[in-house]
């Protein structure tokens, strides 16, 4: 008997009850952030469909695993053909669509976009519960916490000043994952210190006056050209950081909150001045 067939038979014989709670068998996710948590926590057999964005390698941390699942474009008709018993969305998903499928009697769970480690842990725990995969959820959180704790133990006496700089001059202030990651890695986030809340444009003179020692960026569309992206190449930026190049952190580590934030924190930590 071939191995996959054997496993399939085995799965048929002993239904996946080992994790205890009742498990939804046909889960459809319509948002990149829920896609990723779903791919991390569910049994592949539970995943009926994920959004097309999950395949995009620059923004999806789980792009490779996503390839084996049918995709959707978050359109009502499309969703119904999957006969889902659970639909996953996030707080910014299309309200009208969610209202519609709820009216038709489908269970929809919306997840917030976290900006803190607690928020990420909360999302993982909740997702794991919904999927009946509590143990995997706890495991995932444990691994992430261990990696973060390790970094927390190796901090510099004086935290150097950093700033996150994106096309069109956008930066990440308080209540952003970038702020959380910078702090955990051992940097000061100047944007938060300047009182910036969330994502906002910072004027280049203000940026220079704050005298960052290191600038970080995270490309959303690497290799493409625009005036917005050219702004990152302004020569003054390199001069104010004493010639230090802007460091690029993969966008997929923090476009959504998830355990991959530990990758970003580790990368930020490694770029601390020696």
């Amino acid at each position: 008997m071939s191995r996959p067939l054997f496993i399939a038979l085995l799965l048929l014989i002993c239904p996946l009850s080992s994790q205890g709670a009742e498990q939804p068998a046909r889960v459809v996710s319509i948002n990149l952030c829920t896609d990723q948590l779903l791919l991390m926590l569910a049994d592949p057999a539970q995943i009926t469909s994920i959004s097309y964005l999950a395949l995009e390698p620059n923004s999806s941390f789980m792009a490779k695993q996503a390839k084996q699942h049918p995709i959707n474009h978050a359109k009502a008709e499309e969703l119904l053909t999957f006969k889902p018993d659970l639909i996953l969305a996030n707080e910014y998903s299309d309200r009208a669509l969610i209202g519609l499928v709820q009216k038709l009697g489908y269970q929809v769970e919306t997840f917030p976009l976290p900006s803190s480690i607690e928020g990420i842990q909360g999302n993982i725990t909740r997702m794991a519960q919904l999927l009946g995969q509590e143990e995997r959820g706890q495991q995932l959180i444990k691994q992430m916490n261990q990696r973060l704790d390790k970094i927390a133990q190796q901090q510099l006496a004086v935290r150097p000043k950093a700033l996150f700089y994106q096309p069109n001059g956008y930066t990440s202030g308080e209540n952003t994952l970038q702020n959380t990651a910078l702090q955990l890695a051992g940097w000061r986030n100047l944007a938060a210190e300047l009182g910036i809340q969330g994502y906002r444009a910072i004027d280049i003179e203000t940026l220079l006056l704050a005298e960052p020692e290191q600038l970080f960026t995270s490309s959303y569309a690497p290799g493409s050209q625009s005036r917005a992206q050219q702004q990152l190449l302004h020569p003054a930026l390199k001069r104010v950081t004493a010639g230090r190049e802007m460091i690029e952190i993969d966008y997929k580590q923090w476009i959504c909150g998830g355990p991959m934030i530990a990758n970003a924190v580790e990368q930020l930590h490694q770029s601390l001045p020696k």
Partner: protein
């Protein structure tokens, strides 16, 4: 527009230069944060310049210089065009040179060519400006009336704008589509000394070509035939001015976007002050254009930081009513 006192050319030029110098200084003082400018200028000479010196040399100086040479280019080219076409409504904006230049620059920037070869950007602008100007000129014909010229300009502007919008939609960058405003309205914010250096060669070459055209333009006021019998080679003059405009406007617009109405308004305001003499109008309009754009850019910077108002908004707010006034004034000849 009669002026109570008659100014000599020398007085006019020195007066305008004084205003320009004052605005130049003022422009260096105005930014989102007050910095001690004289100390900054001193620090700029040090081996390791301070942050305020960086703001001075890398942010404010390039911005001021770019405003200066772009404004001068638009004013000068407007004056040359109005002289050549003997048409009060001719200007880089209305004739399509500016939007053609923007189209050329967009082709180069968003598809990666200008990041490989920086000079591709102004070159694209020059080709676009030349193509659009020639198209309007050919469409309208050599002896075009004001109305024909304006209509041909509208058609080419619309075409260029449609193509810019199409290209920005097709561009791989997710930021491209939002930047249509930048190309339509123009902006000098966040530019660097590198941008200034990229635009400078084409602009200087264009200015240089226009410098010697004054006498021919004076002769042209007497009519084409008279000018020809006086020994001026008009086809050569035409090409010289068109190429100069393409070089200068193409380079400027490829960095700043199409900033409207300067080329139209400035020569008009100054013409009575130079006794309607095109040769004297050229230099005066160049300085006047620089004054207008610097003033507009200072104005933009006075808005609270974070409000990203494009400088073209200000020049258009000043220029459009003026354009209407010109139309009303010349309504009889238009109809």
């Amino acid at each position: 527009m009669k002026l109570p006192l008659a100014l000599t050319q020398k007085q006019l030029i020195s007066g305008l230069s004084l205003i320009l110098a004052a605005l130049f200084l003022l422009s260096l003082f105005i930014g989102s944060n007050p910095i001690p400018l004289f100390q900054a200028a001193g620090d700029a000479l040090l081996d390791t310049p301070s942050v305020i010196a960086l703001i001075f040399t890398e942010i404010r100086l390039p911005r001021t210089l770019i405003a200066l040479i772009t404004g001068a280019t638009l004013g000068l080219c407007g004056a040359a065009m109005q002289g050549l076409l003997r048409n009060p409504l001719a200007s880089p904006g209305l004739i399509g040179s500016a939007s053609g230049a923007a189209l050329g620059a967009v082709c180069m920037l968003y598809f990666g060519l200008s990041s490989a070869v920086p000079m591709a950007l102004p070159t694209g602008g020059m080709i676009g400006a030349l193509a659009a100007t020639l198209l309007v000129y050919l469409l309208a014909g050599r002896e075009a009336g004001t109305l024909t010229l304006i209509l041909a300009g509208i058609a080419i502007n619309a075409m260029a704008l449609a193509l810019i919008s199409l290209l920005l939609n097709l561009a791989p960058s997710p930021y491209a589509v939002q930047e249509i405003v930048l190309w339509m309205m123009g902006s000098i914010a966040n530019r660097s000394m590198a941008d200034f250096q990229i635009m400078l060669p084409g602009i200087l070459l264009g200015w240089f070509l226009l410098m010697g055209t004054g006498r021919s333009l004076d002769a042209l006021t007497l009519g084409e035939e008279t000018a020809t019998t006086m020994g001026f080679n008009l086809p050569q003059l035409r090409w010289r001015i068109f190429i100069a405009i393409a070089l200068a406007v193409g380079s400027a617009v490829s960095i700043t976007g199409a900033i409207g109405f300067i080329g139209l308004v400035v020569p008009h305001l100054l013409r009575p002050l130079v006794n309607h003499q095109p040769s004297k109008l050229l230099l005066a309009s160049a300085i006047g254009g620089a004054i207008l754009l610097l003033a507009a850019d200072i104005c933009v910077r006075l808005f609270p930081a974070g409000t990203d108002i494009k400088v073209g908004v200000i020049t258009s707010l000043v220029g459009a009513p003026f354009f209407l006034y010109l139309i009303i004034k010349s309504r009889r000849s238009l109809l």
